[in-house]
Symmetry: C2
Subunit: 469 residues, 2 copies
């Protein structure tokens, strides 16, 4: 029998079974555990390492699943020769990964982050892209404006003015490679005069990741009420900046009321604080007239506005933008050489040409109609199949809803039961900064990428999976 | 006379004159200072604000230069109406910016970062790009693998193996949106077990900017000798990681000798330290056989390899890569959700198709021949027009040379004299971590983007500008 002596750290954030899996995996790959040698039994290893059997069984499961070991009935587990481990060999691994992707596309995936790409304007985009890719335009392939292409910034300023009442000059706009990149830049700018940041109690994982990259800030969680953040929490926070998603809170989906918007701005004026307004899927507000952005009603340059093209165009372009109040913009100018422009100038220029033509305006109208229809179908299907067994906690804007199912299943049980039927729905509790504050078991259902038929059929299957019908 | 009551903070990192400039600028733009009202004199404002006259004069200068105020002889400074301030009006600003760009393209620009885009394979790239932009491939527009597209990583692994002897699996590769993005990611991974980083005494400004983003590291400057970094400096540094550009030091241009490469690896093994090898323009080594990369001769997984497609393809794609040793890769896997993939999946996929075809190999061969020719023309032109009046301090690889001119002009004088003749050459001293260590006045001459004729003509004009002939 071989010896297994991993250094397990019970205090590590990495679960024991992953530590054990990593250790055995490397021993096999490096050849230190010889091919075909028998691994200790779960029972023996448990006694030897003085840990329970569960993590060992989990580690072996993982190793089995990935082909590092094989099991022989009534004999035990044996190391596989590195040459025979599929995931170590590029070609096979690639294919299986692609296979897996195809499989997940085939299922009912209510991912809140997916957008409808069947209706992407391929032909028009190709036209503009090919214009950029001609030798006369070769300078577009050179590294370009650190702040982002001027022509694109000009289009963004005019688009936001028309659609969102945002008032700004192209000079105040900084292009980024997605919202996370924009926020990263912003936090670098703020870190000299902001120490405390107030944030909505539930927030996108990626945004949370950015916060963690800036340990010099301390964060205050702000309770979310049906009409926006708790002003009481904000008043007590001593924050010098606050991060909000007022047009469609992520993930809970509420819209900030006009009253709350005004209070928020008043607070910012009084405290000379910044309001970071992430308007990530503002293009899609159904049924009701959209409320004005904070940026458009701000009288004292306290609002920093962040937006993205990931929703209205495609996340694969990696293009977002930030609108800075003048004072912050001057700071940016001073530091511009330490900023890195990660958004592709080529794609920026293509987007600019697309926006300059009527194609963009037409595309927005088309996508809004399309998503409105999908949204209504989803809401109707939920009402039809769930009757009074579920509440839609937020609806009317954006590309996802939050669903509370009244069948006494926990969030995790809901997700697992759905998965068994080939349906992906997503947790909401993981977005809370403090785990205990997730008061209701509710799941996120995105509808952007699904066809109308799939939405109806998926909801019907969900009702069955959750034993509603 | 109007009143000016800015809140000036003498402890702020922002200079007083900038604070004052910002304040007055906003007062004028907002209309709180009425058009044509007279500003207080420098002398009166100095008494009133209890600060010296210099920052006030500087602030007024800046406001004058940008058109916010105008001066009337023997009367004073007057606010301009916001409608008449040119920089506030997008269209005008845009046009002048574009005009400026055009002008700079027309001159002789020996920029070390520019690549030849006249010979970019537009037709072939368009072909692959258009294949990605079809509705059957709509999933390519969805957000994709956080680590980078698997298929592209596979191509990179095989390309680096063939060209640079690099041995790695696609699993170890992480795609980034340019070298700075890749280094940002890497430093996040290293920050838990690295406190001291050794860096070459002269280093790319962007890389320096990344270092500054990680104040938890302390840095040790390592003297550069003709065959690489000073090992003595490294032994004394107590560094746990070292950053080097062994195949073509940026900016000084030397290549690390084989002896130094081996010593560097020995040091890393002994200290269990990391070597960060930035191989940014390794495709271009002329005349001599390239030396093996550190990654390819590393026996103990201490080398982290960074590369980019900015040189061989186009900086506008924003695609780079990082090859992690296994141990670091496992750390990356644990943290993958806090990593943000800024490189466009669409461009990644296009690049993958381009690499899978023979087009890429052909392109590399073509560009290498092309750059070799330009390099030789540059070197010959320098020898011809400067004779013994200049030394080329480094040559034979990469897209720039370092030129020492023996006419007793300082670096700055050389640059200014060239500029007068419409020629841009670039300083080398600004790259030094400690300004005093730039011992020789030498300028950088990049040749990537210039035609053969322009190179010859530019060098001739330089000789004249510097009074060599």
């Amino acid at each position: 029998m071989i010896e297994i002596m991993p250094l397990l750290d019970e205090k590590s954030k990495m679960p024991l079974y992953i530590q054990l899996y990593n250790y055995i995996r490397e021993e096999i790959v490096s050849g230190r555990i010889k091919p075909d040698s028998r691994l200790p039994s779960i029972r023996n290893l448990s006694v030897y390492l003085k840990i329970s059997r569960t993590p060992i069984a989990d580690a072996y499961d993982l190793l089995l699943g990935e082909g590092y070991i094989r099991s022989r009935p009534r004999s035990g587990f044996y190391a596989v020769s590195p040459e025979d481990i599929p995931s170590l060999h590029a070609e096979t691994a690639g294919e299986s990964e692609e296979e897996e992707q195809k499989k997940s596309i085939a299922s009912y995936d209510f991912h809140y982050d997916h957008v409808d790409l069947h209706h992407f304007p391929f032909k028009k985009w190709k036209k503009w892209s090919n214009i950029c890719l001609t030798s006369e335009n070769h300078h577009l392939l050179q590294n370009a404006d650190l702040q982002g292409e001027y022509g694109l910034r000009k289009e963004i300023a005019s688009y936001l003015h028309q659609l969102r009442g945002v008032c700004c000059s192209p000079d105040q706009i900084i292009i980024g490679a997605g919202t996370y990149h924009s926020l990263q830049l912003l936090f670098h700018l703020l870190k000299d005069d902001v120490a405390i940041v107030g944030i909505e109690e539930a927030v996108n994982i990626g945004v949370k990741g950015i916060f963690e990259q800036f340990p010099s800030f301390s964060y205050r969680s702000l309770t979310l009420e049906s009409d926006g953040i708790s002003m009481k929490d904000l008043y007590n926070s001593q924050a010098q900046a606050v991060y909000v998603t007022p047009s469609h809170q992520f993930p809970l989906g509420m819209t900030f009321s006009m009253k709350k918007r005004m209070e928020l701005l008043q607070w910012a004026y009084k405290k000379n604080a910044y309001v970071i307004e992430n308007d990530y899927d503002s293009e899609f507000r159904f049924n009701e007239r959209p409320l004005p952005t904070l940026q458009s009603i701000d009288k004292h340059n306290r609002v920093i506005y962040a937006g993205t093209f990931s929703r209205i165009m495609s996340p694969s372009f990696r293009i977002s933008y930030l609108i800075l109040p003048r004072s912050l913009f001057h700071r940016f100018q001073k530091q511009i050489n330490s900023y890195n422009q990660f958004a592709s100038p080529l794609l920026q220029k293509t987007l600019q040409l697309f926006m300059e033509s009527n194609d963009f305006a037409r595309h927005i109208r088309k996508m809004r109609r399309l998503y409105q229809k999908k949204h209504d179908i989803l809401v109707n299907a939920v009402n039809h199949f769930f009757q009074d067994q579920a509440d839609i906690l937020s609806q009317g804007s954006g590309l996802h809803i939050l669903l509370k199912v009244k069948n006494n299943m926990s969030e995790n049980e809901l997700i697992l039961a759905a998965k068994k039927e080939g349906i992906n729905v997503y947790p909401s509790s993981i977005y809370f900064l403090e785990p205990s504050s997730a008061s209701t078991a509710a799941v996120l259902l995105g509808f952007g990428a699904l066809s109308e038929e799939t939405i109806k059929c998926g909801i019907k299957k969900l009702a069955k999976a959750w034993k509603i019908t």
